[in-house]
């Protein structure tokens, strides 16, 4: 649509005002985009739903929700598995960029519960996952780091028929999924279930191997056809406050690992968690469940600046965590060899004028909190020696053509889904390299999609978002999973809230040859004779 000099919009010519002869049945279309892929005249495009556009994995959320709403749960599960084998994990702990982008918010203020629906579809036991692998390629890949990025890459590369050896310094795979995310959010049953592919697909997992100690990069480069580094960011940032090095001041990851191993030290009655991110919240709720009576969380950030998910912050407060915003640690005080008080100074601003993280303080405004244990959860860094690996942002290939990076090691997006997405991209690059193909071709842009459009909301009716059942407060003492998952009827009702934003459309250069119709998995597309020829 063009605008002339006076701002009036006008049709350009006869050809653009031809009627669109492609008819889509919205009750059947799952917005998969197959029609646009197969159109031989470049006539069809897909209006991409904002949820799918926001998802780093490009998952067709609209698609799986559509199937659920139409009594085709099995197809919904299948749709998720086209993007990831970890639907249950993401369905519990994903940061949900999809929901933040959901157009439903504009109708009744609340997004569709996309994550809960993903969990519902992934937890279905009627659909055991098959793990087909391609013909053996004769090529081998080493992956160092069995966290979300490494696991995703292992799955994709093994599916492609390459031999995969997955190393990790811990005895069991999972990375932070196992060693940092608390059990009451991600139960081990779910984790182990979704990691079963390692055994079934014959991925060679080698635990208790540490890169730089009993495993060396040069050796891997020689032994394997490609090497992927997904070491994560396990360096624990220090406060830089005197008195920090003590048994009673525990870094977050160390703390969570001890809990996981059943080797928690005695925490005393008063625990202070320093930090404002999800890790800090996790630590606070964990401390409560370990029997600590007073758990306080203190962070530099104001409430709205906290990096933790807002829904998690509310949950923690409900459980009794006390939160103090806008304070930075200043001093530790010991009494008879034991930690007794932690002193804070007021943080007046988090960032400097340029917006860079550079907290400023009012040294005169102070606060003191009695404590037995302090857990430091102020952020992770890439461990020494592994930071700053230069790499191609699209292919994730480093300057050494055999070596690739992904996940927190490559870029600090810091979420599980982003790490998985990078693992996937790195795996695609490696697969292409092993096949002798250019790794970058076709990956920068140019899918046949449109993201700037107004969806058709004519069928939307205001309805409140479903509230997924959670464990009642009284029962939240142990590490049982808190969120319970939706029952079928509620899941379907929630799925019906989806507006179905994405849809294919034609550019009016149709030849009515019909492959789009033939390839549509839902028979949702019908090619009409254009009016001019009818």
């Amino acid at each position: 649509m063009l605008h002339n000099a006076t701002g009036v919009s006008m049709e350009v010519n006869l050809l653009t005002s031809l009627s669109d002869n492609i008819r889509i049945d919205r009750d059947k279309c799952s917005a998969c985009g197959k029609c646009a892929e197969v159109c031989i005249l470049d006539n069809l495009r897909l209006q991409l739903s904002p949820c799918r556009h926001a998802c780093p994995l490009g998952m067709n959320c609209q698609g799986y929700i559509h199937y659920l709403a139409h009594d085709k749960a099995a197809k919904g599960t299948e749709t998720i598995r086209e993007s990831t084998p970890f639907g249950g994990i993401l369905g519990r702990i994903c940061s949900r960029p999809c929901e933040a982008a959901c157009n439903r918010i504009k109708v009744d203020g609340e997004a569709v519960a996309i994550r809960d629906l993903k969990r519902f579809l992934s937890d279905r036991t009627e659909a055991p996952i098959l793990y087909p692998t391609g013909a053996e390629s004769g090529k081998s890949v080493a992956i160092a780091g069995a966290g979300p990025a490494g696991l995703t890459a292992a799955f994709i590369l093994r599916s492609a028929g390459h031999r995969v050896t997955l190393y990790d310094r811990e005895p069991t795979p999972g990375g932070l999924l196992r060693w940092a995310i608390p059990e009451f959010r991600l139960p081990y049953e779910c984790l182990d279930r979704e990691l079963a592919f390692l055994k079934v697909m014959n991925v060679d997992f080698q635990g208790e191997r540490t890169l730089g100690q009993d495993l060396d990069l040069e050796g891997l480069k020689q032994q394997f056809d490609a090497v992927l580094l997904t070491l994560g960011a396990h360096g624990q940032a220090k406060l830089g406050v005197p008195g920090e090095d003590s048994d009673h001041v525990i870094p977050l990851l160390s703390f969570m690992k001890m809990v996981r191993q059943g080797q928690t030290p005695s925490l005393g009655q008063k625990v202070v968690v320093v930090g404002g991110g999800n890790g800090a919240i996790d630590a606070a709720q964990t401390a409560l469940r370990l029997g600590t009576r007073n758990v306080t969380l203190v962070c530099l950030e104001k409430r709205h600046e906290m990096a933790a998910f807002p829904w998690s912050i509310s949950e923690a407060e409900e459980e009794g965590v006390i939160i103090h915003n806008g304070w930075g640690p200043r001093s530790f005080h010991y009494k008879a060899g034991r930690l007794s008080v932690i002193g804070f100074k007021k943080c007046t601003a988090l960032c400097d004028a340029k917006g860079c993280f550079c907290p400023s303080y009012d040294e005169e405004a102070t606060m003191e909190l009695p404590c037995d244990t302090v857990i430091v959860a102020i952020g992770q860094t890439i461990e020494e020696g592994w930071a700053g690996i230069v790499h191609n942002p699209v292919t994730l290939q480093s300057e050494n053509p055999k070596v690739f990076v992904a996940g927190d090691l490559a870029s600090r997006a810091g979420t599980v889904v982003e790490a998985m997405a990078q693992g996937k991209e790195a795996a695609i690059s490696i697969d292409r390299i092993l096949k002798g193909e250019d790794p970058e071709y076709g990956r920068r842009n140019g899918r046949a999609v449109e993201i700037d459009f107004s969806p058709d909301w004519s069928r939307a009716r205001s309805r409140a978002r479903v509230v997924a059942p959670v464990l009642p407060m009284e029962v939240r003492k142990g590490f049982e999973e808190m969120a319970k998952g939706l029952p079928y009827e509620q899941a379907v009702a929630e799925a019906e809230r989806c507006l179905g934003c994405g849809i294919p459309f034609g550019l009016r250069t149709c030849w009515f040859c019909l492959p789009c119709e033939i390839e549509c998995p839902e028979q949702a597309l019908h090619v009409e004779i254009p009016y001019l020829l009818r």
């Binding site: 010519n13 197969v38 470049d42 019909l514």
Partner: protein, 555 residues
């Protein structure tokens, strides 16, 4: 925008993944499984080209015991009014039967009667060569086969220029029409199978495409071969067809050969005299059209048979068309009408000149299918010469291995050119409007009835369009860009067509090359090919003649 560049190395590069190209790819891997075969395909190879849903017949199969290659040569020679290279056509007819059997072994369905005989129909002046085929999955069968054999397909890549070095064709440069990425393929030999110019003249139905050739065929291969210095021919053979009015789907031979009647507008029956497309157009031109196909007298089982083929193969969308107009073969007639004009080696005689080895006049460059001249070779020609091109190219590479490290300066020039065109963001006219006008004027001036005045006007207009496409057209993004490049090629083909038509000072081939200023056929002077070749100066077109190749009658 930055044009990212990707390099691919192949033994054989095939430009165009339709019937001829797919067959060439398969054959190249059959004769040498170790060689690397790359295909540039403008659409998506699974369904691309003219046979998205198959074709209702293989028009040329010399069935042993029924017809011979020699009879075909004689028959087609008549249809081409003498301008037909016999050895090229003989070789095609010779291989047509084994080709058909090969397709059958791959699962392509050719109906047989209760005695096991194939269904043969007569569409040529002599002999029944047209063998019925009923396989809507023809293209997917071929596509899956070539992918399974390990051919590397670049979908959405339109070839822009051939790479020529020291007189030999060594690959091509293409552009991804969705991402704008440039793909440079160096190859030992190139096979051009990019089809004809289906978007040439403008249909009169207000829509963009009329003929049943794939509308993505915009003469890219003709233009590239010409720019690289190969000889092309037959551009005066501006062709149109006579098929179902408005929807332009085929049904003529399927129905006529089963007893349907053909009537003109005055209710005169014409089915008895072996009506051809040519004769039907002449009838229409004498103001006695539209002609109609009538089937209401046919028995129910014959009508069902016809419906079955028409509604499943080639243009199955016809069923909806008839429903929309309330047409039932049992009660209504079907109207026929002339299509717009187009250029095509398969239906017509326009193409890159090739010999019976599919060699063009440039070393390293082969051509097959609609982009080449095998004189009305149709699908059989595409398949057979696709194979021959692959065989010959394989042999050529073995004898002339490519030396590594040739530099193309053309690449930087090309990227510069593309960048400039992408800068035309404020042009006053959309590319669709521009194409519409260009094709309307091609219809006005390049097509019959021709005369010197009109043909010279055609050249004048094409020169003007060549300037305006760089000055007036609005190009915003890659989609507009590739449509513009297509129109570049259409204009080039129009130039070649007007030039050749001006040269052939006679009339021939029914209405297709009818010149009002030279209304008679003149075999004394014009029984020869008119060849076009790029001259040394920019825009120069050199015209020459080539005698028609005949075979020893003692064969």
């Amino acid at each position: 925008m930055e044009f990212n560049e990707y390099h691919d190395d192949a033994d054989i590069l095939i430009i165009g993944g339709g019937s001829a190209g797919a067959m060439a790819a398969i054959r190249a891997k059959e004769v040498n499984p170790g060689q690397k075969v790359t295909v540039f395909e403008k659409g998506d190879i699974l369904y691309s080209g003219c046979i998205a849903r198959g074709m209702d017949a293989l028009n040329i199969v010399a069935v042993p015991g029924q017809t011979t290659a020699g009879l075909y040569v004689e028959s087609n020679g008549m249809a081409c009014e003498g301008i037909m290279d016999e050895p090229v056509n003989y070789r095609m007819a010779e291989r047509s039967w084994p080709m058909m059997k090969k397709l059958e072994s791959w699962g392509v369905f050719f109906p047989r009667d209760e005695n096991g005989s194939y269904e043969l129909l007569q569409v040529h002046p002599k002999g029944k060569f047209c063998l019925a085929m009923k396989e809507p999955e023809l293209k997917t069968i071929l596509a899956k086969r070539l992918l399974g054999l390990g051919c590397r397909v670049f979908n959405r890549v339109m070839a822009l220029e051939l790479i020529v070095d020291e007189g030999r064709v060594k690959g091509a440069i293409g552009i991804n029409i969705r991402t704008g990425e440039i793909v440079v393929c160096h190859a030992g030999a190139v096979i051009l199978t990019s089809g004809g110019t289906a978007r040439f003249g403008l249909p009169n139905n207000g829509y963009l495409y009329g003929v049943y050739d794939f509308p993505g065929n915009t003469g890219d291969g003709y233009a590239m071969a010409f720019r690289a210095g190969a000889e092309v021919t037959g551009f005066e053979y501006t062709l149109n067809y006579y098929i179902i009015k408005d929807i332009n789907a085929p049904l003529l031979y399927i129905t006529l050969t089963r007893g349907a009647h053909l009537l003109n507008a005055l209710d005169l029956h014409l089915e008895d005299n072996h009506p051809s497309i040519k004769s039907m157009i002449l009838e229409h031109r004498k103001d006695r059209g539209p002609l109609r196909i009538r089937m209401k007298h046919l028995p129910e089982d014959k009508i069902r048979e016809i419906e079955d083929i028409l509604f499943s193969t080639e243009r199955p969308v016809q069923q909806r068309f008839y429903e929309g107009r309330g047409i039932d073969f049992r009660t209504s007639d079907i109207e026929l009408w002339p299509t717009e004009y187009y250029l095509c080696g398969g239906h017509g005689m326009t193409g890159i000149f090739v010999n019976e080895k599919a060699e063009t006049t440039l070393p390293g460059l082969y051509a097959a299918g609609d982009v080449s001249l095998v004189a009305r070779g149709h699908l059989s020609g595409a398949f057979v010469y696709g194979e021959i091109a692959a065989e010959e190219a394989t042999d050529y590479i073995r004898k002339n291995p490519l030396k590594a490290g040739s530099k193309e300066t053309e690449l930087e020039v090309l990227k510069d050119n593309l960048a400039k065109r992408l800068g035309q963001t404020d042009g006053e006219v959309s590319i669709e409007e521009f194409e519409y006008k260009a094709r309307r004027l091609i219809s006005d001036y390049c097509t019959p009835p021709k005369n010197a005045y009109k043909l010279n006007m055609a050249l004048w207009w094409m020169d003007r369009f060549g300037k305006e496409i760089r000055e007036k057209v609005r190009i915003r993004g890659i989609h507009d860009l590739f449509k513009t490049l297509e129109v570049d090629n259409i204009i080039q083909c129009a130039r070649l067509s007007a030039t050749a038509s001006l040269e052939r000072r006679e009339s021939r081939w029914g209405f297709w090359h009818y010149r009002v200023d030279y209304p008679e056929k003149n075999d004394i002077h014009w029984l020869k090919h008119i060849m076009l070749k790029k001259g040394a100066n920019a825009g120069e077109v050199l015209v020459s003649y080539r005698p028609v190749a005949r075979m020893d009658r003692g064969e």
